[in-house]
């Protein structure tokens, strides 16, 4: 096993200095996700403004991979359109499920390409996806809470 491949500088940096951490108002959807095999948890809120992800805020307990992944996600999709956020979520999820076969697109995934190596470690893929699952779930809840089309 090549440790450096898994624990890249970028990952350790996001782990030690998570971007956007903390729970903030306002928000329309909140999700709580648990990884039952290790007990890791995240609570994540989404504030949608128009067709934009206006804020993602979160609090989490977990390993470096799950914490760094949430931080990278924040950087990547906070402030972009809902559509783009979902596209990036799908792209990142596919990369994680590629069993080491996927090639990350730096243009699109930016810092998240550091997780390419994680996809070789099936036991860690769940860690890397926990925050993203929370985002998807919170978004669904936000959309359910907001009258369709209306945003004022």
């Amino acid at each position: 096993m090549n440790l450096d491949e898994l624990y890249q500088e970028v990952i350790l940096d996001h782990y030690k200095r998570p971007r956007g951490a903390g729970l903030r108002d306002p928000y329309e959807g909140e999700s709580h996700q648990v990884n039952p095999t290790c007990g890791d948890e995240i609570t994540l809120r989404v504030h949608v403004d128009g067709d934009k992800v206006a804020d993602i805020s979160y609090e989490n307990v977990g390993c470096s991979i799950s914490k760094a992944s949430a931080s990278v996600m924040y950087e990547l999709i906070n402030g972009v359109s809902v559509e783009e956020a979902l596209a990036k979520t799908a792209e990142f999820t596919a990369l994680m499920n590629s069993k080491g076969q996927g090639k990350a697109d730096e243009e699109s995934l930016e810092d998240a390409i550091a997780f390419e190596g994680v996809s070789k470690y099936p036991m860690r893929v769940k860690c890397a996806l926990l925050g993203w699952m929370a985002f998807k779930d919170a978004l669904v809840r936000a959309e359910a809470a907001t009258p369709a089309g209306g945003n004022d």
Binding site: V34, P36, P122
Partner: protein, 422 residues
């Protein structure tokens, strides 16, 4: 005979070390595959390799062996799911055998019936009915009997005709608006009958009952596709399909697994636990409390690979021929009466018979002296025995490695039985 089927039986036999065993000075003729099949060296080797290379507990660790073991175990699940045409690997729950798989479903009803807010499809009350058949293995009879005793529901059953088929004329009456679940045997282990399923499944749907199959004798011998069958659950068992003991499987529709309360509880089936309260993981984990049969799953996957390589259509064709040959040859034995269908249509290569009232124990013993292994007794199907007025039968059953030569040896030895007990 073998020329017609596409199985190269001699090549198959070479994979089964036990078939070279001598019983005294006679080569073993193993005609007891309906009780348990033999294992090819591919299965034993896969398990040994796993044990000596990747053995670890699954799901809860990040070390290399743990990851390899988890992949092997989940890979086995996917393989088994694929083998029976399941939509998703998550619809396959590993159990210790068929019996546990059926008990798991019966206990889902029992536990739902005392649980406020349980899915009404699983709640049984007096007035409700559960339907089985008269040709069940005890594994698909007693769990339902017990369930009825504990909930006040009523057990009903579809009878058997004189030629050993389900009496389908009773279906519309026995399955009715009171029926909550129908669980019936797919291929009968005493009679060898392959039951037609569509009429019973259609009737169950009509009255809104759940419907499942005891496919313990089906999955090893005929192509089984759960989607085509249109049922809600099936149970089967590793050791009858070239796999190891200690593992079986329940397949059930994802949506039903979600609705069912857990059966056994403990590690690896939880979401969160406090001293006061537990919430459960999603299926299949929800139904797999404790350390599962990990090496056994690896063995079962190797067995599925083996059967896949042979091709289940070829297995079926081989056994059809074998059944025909068995029936023809056995009928030449004086005083022999086949119990079960006497034509090789809608039946497998499992043939029960009575021989001139010689007790099956004695028949089996004399055959054993010639190296021929058959099963004798009630075959865990006492009601079937009662239906045909016997306390026990002698049963010869074949599988992928069975030759017509072994049947000839059986027939010759039966003549000897008659002489000893004349």
């Amino acid at each position: 005979m073998e020329a017609v089927s596409k199985l190269d039986v001699e090549a198959v036999r070479a994979d089964f070390p036990i078939l070279r065993r001598m019983i005294g000075d006679k080569p073993l003729a193993y005609l007891d595959s309906a009780a348990t099949s033999q294992r090819p060296v591919q299965v034993t080797e896969a398990m040994r390799r796993f044990t000596e290379h990747s053995n670890a507990n699954i799901s809860r660790s990040v070390h290399t062996l743990g990851a390899e073991a988890t992949e092997a175990y989940e890979g086995a699940r996917a393989k088994v799911a694929d083998f029976i045409g399941a939509r998703s690997a998550d619809e396959v729950v590993f159990t210790k055998n068929s019996t546990e798989a059926i008990n798991l479903v019966a206990y889902a009803f029992q536990n739902a019936s005392v649980k406020p807010g349980a899915d009404p499809r699983f709640v049984l009350r007096p007035g409700d009915e559960v339907v089985v058949t008269e040709m069940e293995h005890h594994a698909n009879l007693i769990p339902w009997q017990q369930l009825c005793e504990r909930t006040g529901a009523k057990l009903r059953w579809i009878g058997i005709t004189d030629v050993g088929r389900l009496d389908l004329e009773q279906v519309d009456e026995v399955i009715n608006e009171h029926t909550k679940v129908v669980s019936f045997v797919h291929v009968a282990n005493l009679l060898g009958t392959v039951n037609p399923t569509s009429q019973i499944v259609a009737r169950a749907r009509e009255v809104g009952a759940l419907v499942g199959l005891d496919s313990s004798q089906a999955v090893p011998h005929i192509p089984v596709d759960v989607t085509e069958l249109g049922v809600d659950f099936i149970a089967f068992t590793g050791h009858k399909m070239l796999g190891p003991t200690g593992i079986g499987a329940l397949w059930a529709k994802a949506e039903l697994l979600d609705a069912m309360p857990p059966f056994q509880t403990g590690g690896s089936m939880i979401e969160t636990v406090s001293m006061e309260r537990t919430t459960f993981a999603k299926a299949p984990a929800k139904f797999e409390a404790g350390t599962p049969p990990i090496a056994e799953a690896v063995g079962l996957a190797a067995a599925v690979d083996y059967l896949d390589k042979l091709g289940m259509e070829n297995v079926r064709a081989h056994e059809k021929e074998l059944a025909g040959y068995m029936l023809r040859r056995l009928e030449t034995v004086d005083g022999l009466t086949v119990i079960g269908p006497r034509v090789p249509i809608g039946r497998g290569a499992t043939v029960s018979f009575d021989l001139a009232d010689v007790h099956p124990h004695d028949v089996g013993q004399v055959l054993d002296a010639d190296g021929i292994a058959v099963r004798v007794g009630h075959h865990c199907a006492k009601p079937t025995c009662v239906r045909f007025g016997v306390t026990a039968t002698t049963r010869a059953s074949g599988y992928v490695y069975t030759t017509t030569d072994e049947i000839d040896r059986l027939v010759a030895a039966l003549e000897k039985v008659r002489k000893v007990f004349a």
